[in-house]
């Protein structure tokens, strides 16, 4: 498993050397440009017992956009291995479970590393409103990122296992991720949405991930139910993705 993860990281790095920059850039634009501009036109948002500037509200959750964008590459990587014949090659000496777990864990490592970089950058931008705790901040931050990464990696694996062409993979990934970002607590509190959409947000794992990542950096109240729900979504998605992958035709 460890060696398969090494292989995944090694080949990902070589496959797309510009990958990290191209994926970090949109989030950095969100953090440095959009959120600071909106800060001037959006009034402070009430969260629990305090008012947060729009930057403080948005920047921690913006890290999850990066996590999502990186994690859905997991499905594309599966397709690349399939296209190059390496999926069949690897499965000739390791099990589908090992391949699946190594792929998910590799993407979790990549997305967590970039999230930590973005987290450190974010702290400098919203330093006046940050409230860090040595015990809860690292745990909640990594928990939100790792669970989100597992959920979206699994989701992209599900799509990859079902679609027949790479073009459809890209199309379905966009169709799924765009509404998930929009109907979550990343850009605005979900309770500000129309009531029907606000109810849909309750079934969106990003809503809970956004709440936890804010709690980690801003010291807002941690909801235990959100921790449990995020683990439930991750477990369910991993199980569905692996079931579909087990039945997937590996040839291209």
């Amino acid at each position: 498993m460890r060696r398969l993860i090494y292989r995944n990281l090694r080949t990902t790095y070589d496959l797309k050397p510009h990958l990290f920059f191209s994926l970090l850039l949109p989030t950095l634009i969100y953090i440095f440009i959009i959120s600071l501009a909106y800060n001037k036109i959006i009034k402070p948002i009430p969260m629990y017992d305090r008012y947060l500037s729009y930057s403080a509200f948005f920047i921690p959750a913006a890290i999850l956009i990066n996590t999502l964008q990186l994690s859905i590459l997991c499905g594309s990587m599966l397709w690349t291995d399939r296209y190059n014949g390496m999926l069949e090659q690897i499965l000739s000496f390791s099990s589908r479970a090992e391949y699946f777990l190594s792929r998910v864990l590799s993407i979790v490592i990549i997305s967590s590393s970039t999230a930590v970089i973005l987290g450190l950058i974010s702290i400098t931008i919203i330093k006046d409103e940050v409230s860090l705790s040595y015990t809860t901040t690292p745990f909640l931050f990594l928990y939100a990122v790792v669970m989100s990464s597992m959920i979206f990696a699994s989701l992209s694996f599900c799509v990859s296992a079902v679609v027949r062409t790479p073009d459809k993979l890209t199309m379905f990934n966009r169709m799924i991720t765009m509404p998930m970002i929009a109907i979550s607590g990343i850009f605005y509190p979900p309770e500000y949405l129309p009531s029907i959409i606000s109810n849909i947000a309750k079934f969106n794992p990003l809503t809970y991930a956004a709440s936890l990542i804010r709690a980690s950096l801003l010291g807002t109240q941690t909801n235990i139910l959100h921790i449990i729900l995020l683990a439930f979504f991750a477990g369910t998605m991993l199980a569905i993705a692996y079931t579909l992958f087990k039945e997937m035709d590996i040839t291209y």
Binding site: R7, R10, D14, N84, G85, M86, E88, S92
Partner: protein, 246 residues
Amino acid sequence: MKVISVSNLWKKFSSTWVLKGISFDVKKEIFGFIGPNGAGKTTTVRIILGILRADKGSVKIFGKSPKELSREERKSIGYVQQRISFEPYLSVFENIWLYGYLRGLSKEEAKERASKLINEFDLKPNKKAIELSIGQRRRLQIARELVHKPALLFLDEPTVGLDVESRYRIIGVIRNMKIPVFFTTHNMWEAEKLCNRIAIINMGRILTIDSPKSLIRKTNSANLEDAYLKVIKNETSDISEPKNDI
């Protein structure tokens, strides 16, 4: 000792039976699996390796079903696919040593073996795999599958796309390996030169299993190609569809 044992293997894709109860054993030998396109050769290899599931029948490698094989046993098998497979953005050297490492060699051992194979297969170590010609990619693929000194090797039409010189080189390497080899090919010349025994498969059924020399003699043929054509022509009309109760 039987290295591979296949018994009454059936496989269906959609509504078409591609394997219709094939059985054969492979000992410590070079075993040729010969047949036309779509005969079921690659499907058989994939089932033996545990990549595909059979609908009926059993497969044993080293006396165990593919699922029962330990990690080490699975990693001790080499598999050259019919299609060319490689890590496109890694160098030739990295492509080879990485797969030695994945199959249990230490980094140092894998790198040492990779350097040796690069010389043996006349490859350029620093060139990216995507920049190689088809023949060079094929040589890279075969070298990669030999890096861990396999205990059993599957070669699924490994010389397709190779020039004559490369083909001779690869046949020489296979012949000198002294390990059991399961070798599928269209090329009768290769089969005649290399294989201790051959099985001829057509439309999912094995028509005959014999040594090339014995088959040539029994069919009064000049060479294996001639013998193969006689076997295929005689047997094709006799093949009937399997019963529906499978």
